[in-house]
């Protein structure tokens, strides 16, 4: 049974790749591009697009640097991103029937 009142889902997070990125970053202070790519199983270009979208709304912070001679991109969640993910999970719960207690 689905409750009558359903909370709206944040359209920015409501995409499997962006949800994966946000879920990883919520427990990691920093994650690098390759780790996110491996976790989401997507391509460089696709992941970059999703990361740019999350950065644009202020949910994540992207830092580009160098490890030795290799370029390294790392991402971290902002406070706004953390709050947005918490809201998203709460909204998801409104789609589930309340457990009988």
């Amino acid at each position: 049974m689905i409750p009558e009142k359903l909370a709206p889902l944040d359209p920015v997070i409501h995409s499997q790749i962006r949800l994966a990125v946000m879920s990883i970053l919520v427990s990691a202070s920093v994650a690098d591009f390759n780790e996110l790519k491996a976790a989401t199983g997507t391509t460089d270009g696709n992941l970059s697009t999703h990361l740019a979208k999350l950065e644009e709304v202020g949910y994540i912070r992207i830092k580009k640097s160098f490890r030795g001679r290799k370029p390294a991109t790392t991402c971290s969640l902002t406070d706004a991103g953390r709050e947005a993910l918490a809201r998203y999970v709460n909204a998801l719960e409104s789609y589930l029937p309340k457990s009988r207690g």
Binding site: A20, I24, S27, A28, S29, A31, E35, V89, L92, Y95
Partner: protein
């Protein structure tokens, strides 16, 4: 979005959180290294005592401590570069480990040199700090075997008081095995299984 999709999304979030947790398990390398390194230093210590070369004991401990620090810093920097993800628990663990490292240096060198206590008390203070390190890390990584190792160090610290001063160094060996080597090997096995 329906109920099933919501369940799938929540399951997906959990999977990602689990993935992060698995990918950041400690390798245990430094515990194993320090366990063997201190045992080697103790063997050196007692070899010098046995051969009546007491004045060289400080060289033994300075060499093993300093070289141990160099290896620890080198390993930590190298791992930090390789690490593709850093969790808050790992960050906190790094701070606890560094803080205990400073406490070890103060307890083993600075405080006895300043006359705070005699050299026979060092192993007791080291055991106390080791208990803080293991118990703290055990709490962070939710590892019961490390919490138990922390308790073992504290019990050991009390037990060391009952051992005559000259033999306390040997009394700490079983504690190193229980409190460093065993947790180190358990971490190593978990780390390899998680990869």
């Amino acid at each position: 979005m329906d109920e099933q999709q919501a369940r799938d999304d929540i399951k997906y979030i959990r999977e990602m959180l689990d993935r992060t947790r698995r990918s950041t398990a400690d390798s245990g390398t430094l515990f194993i290294f320090w366990g063997f390194w201190i045992i080697l230093a103790l063997i050196g210590n007692y070899a010098l005592v046995y051969t009546h070369l007491f004045r060289w004991i400080w060289v033994d401990w300075t060499f093993f401590s300093f070289s141990g620090w160099v290896v620890t810093i080198w390993h930590s920097v190298r791992r930090g570069r390789k690490e593709r993800i850093m969790t808050f628990a790992q960050e906190a663990a790094a701070y606890i480990s560094f803080a205990c490292g400073i406490a070890f240096a103060l307890a083993a060198f600075a405080l006895p040199l300043l006359g705070a206590y005699g050299y026979d008390v060092i192993s007791i203070v080291i055991a106390l700090v080791s208990g803080v390190l293991l118990f703290g890390l055990g709490g962070l990584f939710k590892a019961k075997f490390m919490l138990a190792a922390g308790l073992a160090w504290w019990l050991g610290a009390v037990g060391l008081v009952l051992i005559p001063g000259d033999w306390r160094g040997l009394g700490i060996v079983p504690l190193i095995i229980i409190g460093y080597l065993v947790p180190g090997f358990i971490f190593r096995a978990k780390y390899r299984n998680g990869k």
